[in-house]
């Protein structure tokens, strides 16, 4: 039953990665922008939610305010800094957004300090839920899974069933043509970026009560998100979803079971040191394996 619980944890980590990866991959697919500062928005979401929750005492209100706040910060960053980067090459984008990360981490450290903040799950979300007879699972983590899957479904509907989604798909395949057909491409960019920022903020505020809220937390999730995107294929939301669940599972199950598994074939002391080392490398090895066979990821978008 431990396996089931860890599998759920893996799924929970996976949907978290998906919330981040969806925004990043959309922004890349449409604006051709590599945004390292995406993790900073996640961090901003977590800090805002923690602070608003402490101020208002209402979790739901804090969630709404933090989402709006992150959206605002995201749009501001887009207007001030990122807008000029769309036409630049990837090297420029990487360096400039790296500069933004330094700025945001330091800004957060100035306002909230370098020590990690801890916040707790509200009482009405702190129990356990029965998933199978005899298997309990924390309500809050189950909620994250639910929210993540719901967002995935909504995104799918948005992209495939609405006019905005049609423009997003069109923008991803040929930007110049969409602009020539009279669509306000600037507005579309800001919209997509804002959507991505809100998703990152959502991931961040959900993460608040279960991970440490501290400067640099964005990069801890950003790099696994890159792995997800590379595995899934850059620009593909479907790829981001599959990649996120796979990476979430592999990472979580690896950390939980690799050591006892190795202990059955190796000496205990060897397993003791090899287990965690191998577990932390697992998702990167998976990425290398996928790339060896499919250099464009599992769901290539032809870019």
């Amino acid at each position: 039953m431990l396996v089931l619980e860890q599998a759920l944890n893996g799924l929970q980590y996976g949907v978290m990665l998906f919330l981040m990866a969806a925004g990043l991959t959309l922004v890349f697919g449409i604006m051709n922008l590599v945004n390292l500062a995406h993790g900073s928005l996640y961090m901003v979401g977590a800090y805002l939610a923690t602070t608003f929750y402490a101020w208002t005492g209402s979790f739901l209100l804090a969630v709404v305010l933090a989402l709006l706040g992150t959206l605002g910060v995201g749009v501001l960053v887009e207007l001030i800094a990122l807008r000029t980067l769309y036409e630049r090459d990837h090297l420029d984008q990487v360096l400039a957004t790296f500069g933004l990360i330094l700025f945001f981490n330091e800004l957060i450290a100035i306002v909230w300090g370098r020590a990690a903040l801890y916040t707790s799950v509200p009482v009405w979300l702190s129990g356990h839920v029965l998933v199978l007879p005899g298997v309990q699972y924390p309500v809050y983590r189950a909620l994250i899974i639910g929210v993540g899957l719901l967002v995935a479904a909504l995104l799918w509907a948005l992209v495939t069933r609405t006019r905005v989604g049609m423009l997003i798909r069109a923008g991803a395949s040929n930007r110049a043509m969409v602009g020539a057909l009279g669509v306000n491409i600037r507005l579309l960019y800001t919209l997509v970026f804002g959507l991505g920022a809100a998703l990152a903020g959502l991931a961040g505020l959900l993460a608040g009560p279960i991970y440490a809220v501290q400067p640099g937390m964005g990069e801890q999730i950003l790099i696994p998100v890159f792995v997800v995107i590379v595995i899934g294929g850059i620009g593909s939301i479907r790829g981001a979803f599959v990649g996120a669940v796979v990476v979430g599972m592999v990472d979580t199950l690896g950390r939980a079971f690799l050591k006892p598994l190795l202990a059955t074939v190796l000496r205990p002391s060897a397993a003791e040191s090899a287990g965690p080392a191998l577990a932390s490398m697992l998702m990167y090895l998976l990425m290398a394996a996928v790339l060896a066979f499919r250099p464009q990821g599992l769901f290539p978008t032809g870019r």
Binding site: F28, T84, R88, A96, E106, F226, V230, S280
Partner: protein, 314 residues
């Protein structure tokens, strides 16, 4: 033949670096000796990155990996009682070349943004590997019992001797890089950068040449890693932290990528700037971050790139 402004600047810069120990002892500021030694080590790392970034067009966001491999090679051998510098540095070069071969073989199959993310991810993997190996210090790192020993030939325990050794290695690598970029091999790498399809059309297989350049750059950075761990006398996975990769990349851009002296200028300016800023405030990164953005947006050619080019190719 009249020397170009760039050649004069390079010569003057190297002479200035050679005079640092004299100035430090004259001013009774031994701190500068340490500081410039560190700067030159990072200059070497930045130079090696520029070979693939500036000349090869490969945006590797994981160059700190080789810094770490070189450092770990020396640190692990020292931990097991091997103090011979020739052995240590030989292993450091071989190991970083080997790791570069592995990472390069997978990464160079891809291009563009995939390449950036993959090189970053692999370096992160090595970083976590360093953290999880408790035997060699894990998260906390470990002290280096002694600096590399070269059998009485050079004594690294003496700060000034060590300084000049680093300078000599830097100059040597600068000369090697000059040979490299102007040799046939380097020409193919540069051709593949400006137009890979054409390079292929005239009969080259760019993958091989790019991989070769990637391995050479990795090995050179491995030397920088071996020097760095001797300099700090402390081995830590922080050498491979991804912000380190970003910092090295920024040095290349700041100084001027695609020039050999540029990365060195960039290393000097960035590390001195960090020094000045951190003297002002502990929150110096809040100034450095936007500065970086501004350099990228408005001064892409870098400081060294501001000097006029020599009339022939350079």
């Amino acid at each position: 033949m009249r020397a170009s402004p760039r050649a004069i600047a390079v010569g003057a810069g190297l002479v200035a670096l050679a005079l640092v120990p004299l100035a430090a002892s004259a001013l009774n500021q031994p701190f500068y000796l340490d500081h410039f030694r560190r700067i030159m080590i990072f200059a070497l790392a930045a130079l090696s990155l520029d070979l693939i970034l500036g000349y090869g067009g490969m945006v590797s966001f994981g160059h700190a990996a080789y810094l770490g491999i070189g450092a770990y090679a020396v640190g692990i051998l020292t931990h097991h009682g091997v103090h011979n510098g020739f052995v240590q540095w030989g292993v450091a070069i071989a190991a970083s070349a080997l790791v570069a071969l592995g990472i390069g073989a997978v990464s160079i199959r891809t291009s563009g943004v995939y390449f950036i993310m993959i090189t970053l991810a692999f370096t992160q993997m090595l970083y976590y590997l360093g953290i999880s190996i408790a035997q060699y210090g894990g998260d906390d790192g470990m002290r280096l019992a002694a600096r590399s020993q070269f059998g009485g030939l050079v004594d690294l325990r003496d700060g000034v001797t060590f300084y000049y050794l680093v300078l000599a290695v830097l100059v040597l690598c600068l000369l090697l890089s000059h040979r490299f970029v102007n040799a046939r091999f380097g020409m193919v790498v540069r051709a593949a950068r400006s137009n890979e399809a054409r390079a292929r059309a005239i009969g080259f297989w760019p993958y091989r040449y790019k991989l070769g350049a990637f391995v050479i750059a990795g090995a050179m950075c491995g030397v920088a890693g071996a020097l760095l761990v001797n300099h700090t006398e402390y081995l830590t996975p922080e050498f491979m932290h991804w912000t380190r990769s970003g910092e090295i990349m920024f040095m290349v851009i700041l100084g001027g990528m695609g020039t050999l002296a540029g990365p060195i200028v960039g290393a000097v300016v960035l590390l001195l700037l960090e020094d000045v800023l951190s003297g002002w405030t502990v929150h110096w990164q809040i100034i450095l971050g936007p500065f970086l953005v501004l350099v990228v947006l408005f001064a892409k050619r870098g400081l060294f790139g501001l000097l006029p080019r020599p009339s022939s190719h350079g």
